[in-house]
């Protein structure tokens, strides 16, 4: 046996020090792949893939009947302390008297629906947490019609993949069907037992306690049931995750 060789039964077999170290160092070379994140050409698709994977995983562990926490009235954030985003300061000038929700897509009864028609369906009022992607949260009192009830009302195909909504302020959103059918997902027309204020999206907004804040579109004007969405959403098209379940 070469006296320079190790006596150990297993593990690496050293030769001379330099080639030994070189061989061990080479084993770390796969780490260079991470360098792709430093090259803009590769970085952007990699980050997009990372977010898509996150969305996919998040949709996988979404439980259809697992309820978001419901809070006592005493825990509710007062309405004046419920933050309104700066772009909601601009009035989208919705005429509440002539307002209609335009329904289209994979439904048996497309057309224009009045607020009274939506309000004729059973009303659900719940205190749920609204979480902004920025990190703040507020507990609000939301009242409205279950989206699943309304989908039944318009004869929507529940096997379609998405709802796609457009808003009076040029905002738009997509909502996956599983989240839309969740028993706490609302077409919301009341906050704090009062009709929605202008700032909070009068006359109709989404309230989906299993989704992040930017998915809760305000000033709804149209709703489409579809397998293919033209766009993912106002913020999603600028790089936010499209699914973002909570």
């Amino acid at each position: 046996m070469n006296p320079l060789e190790s006596e150990m039964p297993d593990g690496p077999k050293p030769g001379n020090s330099r080639s030994l170290n070189r061989r061990e160092l080479l084993k770390l070379s796969p780490l260079l792949v991470v360098g792709a994140f430093a090259i803009p050409r590769f970085r952007d698709p990699l980050l997009t893939a990372g977010v898509s994977f996150t969305d996919w995983a998040s949709a996988k562990w979404f439980r259809r009947n697992h309820l978001a926490p419901i809070f006592a009235n005493s825990e509710v954030t007062p309405l004046e302390k419920f933050y309104v985003n700066t772009y909601d300061v601009d009035d989208p000038e919705v005429d509440l008297d002539t307002w209609r929700l335009t329904v289209s897509g994979d439904v048996q009864r497309p057309g224009e629906y009045t607020l009274a028609q939506i309000q004729s369906l059973p009303k659900l009022t719940q205190n749920t947490r609204h979480i902004c992607v920025e990190g703040w949260d507020a507990i609000g009192r939301f009242g409205g019609t279950r989206i699943s009830d309304f989908l039944q009302y318009i004869g929507a195909n529940r096997d379609a993949k998405f709802l796609y909504v457009e808003c009076a302020d040029d905002y738009y959103e997509s909502l996956d069907m599983a989240s839309a059918l969740h028993p706490q997902s609302l077409l919301c027309y009341e906050m704090y037992d009062q009709p929605l204020t202008r700032e909070h999206g009068a006359p109709l907004r989404l309230s989906v306690p299993t989704k992040i804040g930017y998915k809760q579109a305000k000033y709804l004007t149209s709703l489409r049931v579809t397998d293919v969405v033209p766009k993912k959403g106002y913020w999603e098209d600028q790089g936010y995750p499209a699914y973002y379940g909570l």
Binding site: P3, L4, E5, S6, E7, M8, G11, P12, P14, G15, N16, S17, L20, N21, E24, L25, K27, L28, P30, L31, V34, F37, L46, L47, T48, A49, G50, V51, F53, T54, S58, W61, F62, R63, H66, A68, P69, T77, E80, K81, F82, Y83, R129, I131, C132, V133, E134, G135, W136, D137, A138, P209, T210, W235, Q238, G239, Y240, P241, G245, L246
Partner: protein
């Protein structure tokens, strides 16, 4: 073979210049691989996390908003909240995968005995603290890591685990509502997530200081696995 009452480290005698030296294989390939991959991930997670925190640098209510601290822009990664989220959500998976790979390797190879702090190490903690901070005599080193090192490395793994658990609650507080409740709710999970970041940054700071103090030989062992003439060898 190294005399050690917890784990056997492969030892070799190699040619170095004119003479021969003893060298010990302290860090198996997987450990080194995970160490450096995690160095990148931790950096990305911390920097993109700070950028996310810039969007709402408070733990209080939104109205009125009391900013806790304004993280300078250059510490952030991603440029804006959306960009930072992309980095955070991508590297979160790399961070978790590295952790799972590392822990699985340590358990199945039984190499965990090298860094894991166990009850037996308790007695050696105070003498090490006395040596490091109060000019006490250096206790004889019998293993690759001294008790204080083991404590630091074991804590770092626990902080890593906590960073993932608190992060999951921030990301999906409804699906992981039980975990959220354990943490005191979404609001507190955000505080814990930030505390864990501070703990990890403190660990990294201490780790870097110790590596610099112990010299080049110590640093290269995390690249090649081999450390020449470690003091625990006879």
């Amino acid at each position: 073979m190294a005399a050690s009452n917890s784990i056997q480290i492969p030892v070799a005698v190699v040619k170095a210049g004119e003479g021969l030296v003893q060298t010990a294989y302290e860090h198996p390939w997987v450990v080194r691989f995970c160490h450096w991959l995690n160095t990148v991930s931790l950096f990305v997670m911390a920097a993109s996390g700070l950028q996310i925190f810039r969007a709402f640098p408070s733990f209080g209510p939104k109205i009125p908003q009391h900013d806790l601290l304004n993280v300078p822009k250059f510490l952030g990664l991603g440029g804006w909240l959306g960009g930072a989220l992309q980095w955070h959500m991508t590297f979160a998976w790399i961070y978790v995968a590295t952790g799972v790979f590392y822990i699985a390797y340590q358990v199945f190879s039984r190499n965990y005995r090298q860094p894991l702090f166990v009850r037996r190490d308790l007695a050696g903690v105070w003498p090490m603290i006395r040596h490091y901070f109060f000019f006490g005599r250096k206790p004889p080193q019998t293993e690759v890591y001294n008790p204080l090192q083991k404590m630091a490395y074991t804590s770092a793994i626990l902080f890593g685990l906590l960073s993932v658990l608190t992060g999951i609650v921030l990301f999906n507080p409804v699906q992981f509502s039980l975990l959220a409740t354990l943490m005191g709710g979404f609001h507190w999970a955000r505080v814990w997530h930030f505390c864990v970041l501070c703990a990890l940054l403190l660990f990294v700071l201490g780790h870097l200081i110790m590596v610099i103090l112990h010299g080049w030989n110590n640093f290269t062992s995390m690249l090649t696995g081999w450390k020449r003439n470690p003091e625990y060898l006879p």
